[in-house]
């Protein structure tokens, strides 16, 4: 498998990259980790005139907490998330996620930004970011804008990004005390995309009821899905088994999966239910609840 020819550009700054993208228009494609794009080029169904490699732009690779916000540079490798003490200690949901993306060797190239920017509902970060209420920072010719993740995914492989825009940062509000999150993925084997996946982020009130909750679902429809109805249902309730089961059912109702070798529509929908309950239980446990 050999890709067709293309020109390769490695701009040294974001400004240069944006200028280049603006100039090349639709004939260019951003190369980040390349773990999705390069196989596509090798099979030759994708053909591009130009690849704009953002991998050499300094300053896009960081994980830091500032002013109540976790900021992840778009070029941060998944493996860096796995190994970050900050992530390990304070954002277990992100650790859960990073650990099940593709395989460990792929994670040394795959980037967190790329995982979102592809707009692939089968990618794992979108669900997690929906649960966390994250937003993304985007740089274009007119400067920077911030897009809440729940407004980022427009359709299958469609995001709010314009062709001349680059996703530069992911921003996650630091969860308050008594918060916990978890991501649970069902995969046929390591390296596979999710048959289904569920992310849940929970904050408990002093009386043990659910103060705040976010639920995101992977590969449950043409876009990553925010299980809004389940979230609404849970707010203010005690996270007992019956309540979480009901939330699982509501989450499954929000799905619109398609059949493939991973499973039928019915199976995937039911897995969204099962995994939502499991993610919620783990999240509540991590939040210090029962």
């Amino acid at each position: 498998m050999i890709p067709a020819t293309f020109d390769y550009h490695a701009p040294g700054s974001l400004a240069d990259a944006v200028t280049l993208l603006d100039k090349l228009g639709d004939d260019a494609k951003i190369l980040a980790g390349g773990m999705s794009l390069l196989p596509m080029l090798k099979i030759r169904l994708a053909q591009v005139g130009h690849l704009v490699d953002i991998g050499r732009i300094p300053g896009l690779d960081y994980i830091k907490e500032e002013g109540g916000t976790l900021r992840i540079g778009a070029a941060t490798k998944e493996s860096a998330l796995e190994r970050s003490d900050l992530i390990r200690s304070k954002y277990p949901i992100l650790l859960d996620t990073a650990l099940v993306i593709a395989d460990p060797v792929v994670r040394n190239r795959a980037t967190a930004g790329g995982n979102l920017a592809h707009g692939d509902p089968a990618n794992d970060h979108p669900a997690t970011m929906l649960a966390l209420g994250a937003s993304v920072v985007v740089r274009g010719p007119k400067g920077e804008r911030t897009i809440p993740v729940d407004q980022f995914f427009k359709g299958l492989f469609t995001t709010a990004l314009a062709a001349n825009e680059i996703l530069t940062e992911i921003r996650i509000p630091t969860p308050p005390a008594k918060s916990g999150g978890a991501y649970v993925k069902l995969e046929r084997k390591v390296g596979d995309f999710a048959t289904a996946g569920a992310a849940a982020q929970v904050t408990l009130a002093a009386n043990g009821t659910i103060e705040k909750v976010g639920i995101g679902l992977t590969n449950a429809g043409p876009t990553p899905i925010k299980a809004a109805e389940a979230e609404k249902f849970l707010a203010g309730k005690k996270p007992d088994d019956a309540t979480l089961q009901e939330a699982g059912r509501l989450a499954a109702k929000a799905t619109n999966p398609s059949v493939d070798r991973r499973g039928s529509v019915e199976y995937k929908r039911d897995m969204a239910r099962v995994l939502t309950v499991r993610a919620l239980k783990a999240a509540v446990r991590r939040a210090g609840g029962q």
Binding site: M1, I2, P3, A4, T5, F6, D7, Y8, A10, L31, G34, M35, L38, P39, L41, K42, I43, L51, D53, G55, S79, R83, A102, D103, P104, V105, V106, N108, R109, V190, G191
Partner: protein, 156 residues
């Protein structure tokens, strides 16, 4: 089509060449440099036979462009043995029968090598997860795990 003059430090030695944009890193290593220890098994980044270390971390060289490696450090299986002395991971694979046909072995050893740099005493579970991006069709992994454990013990 654009051509690029690149310099990649391979196993410590700078290697320069004029390459096409689309040249895959694995072909740069195997064909431009003639170092055939790095193999190609699946083309879609699933099998890991093409694994090399890029600045010390295992990556799948069939899913990376040679130009992306410009100015960076690559280590291949040929770089494991130093001063005619086998690396402990190589010894481990031989001592514990961690290989059969040998095709996945270079990638498997490099991934394990990187694991041991990061984690001197990995548990069996940690080893199995670390090598889960590398497929072996012969060994059933049992002896690969033992090979890594052998190397870990040897390095203590």
């Amino acid at each position: 089509m654009s051509m690029h003059k690149i310099t990649v430090t391979v196993n410590g030695a700078p290697r320069s060449a004029e390459v096409e944009s689309r040249l895959l890193l694995v072909h740069f290593i195997r064909e431009t440099l003639g170092m055939t220890g790095t193999h190609i098994g699946c083309d879609t980044s699933h099998c890991g036979a093409c694994t090399v270390l890029l600045d010390g971390e295992p990556v799948k060289s069939c899913t990376m462009l040679a130009v992306q490696a410009d100015g960076r450090q690559v280590m291949t299986v040929e770089g494991l043995e130093k001063d005619a002395k086998l690396d402990p991971i190589q010894e481990g694979f031989m001592q514990e029968h961690g290989l059969q046909c040998g095709f996945c072995t270079p990638g498997m050893m490099l991934t394990s090598y990187a694991l041991l740099k990061r984690n001197q005493q990995p548990s069996e579970d940690e080893i199995r997860h670390a090598i889960s991006g590398n497929l072996c069709r012969c060994t059933g992994y049992v002896n690969i795990v033992k090979a890594v454990q052998y190397a870990a013990a040897k390095q203590q």
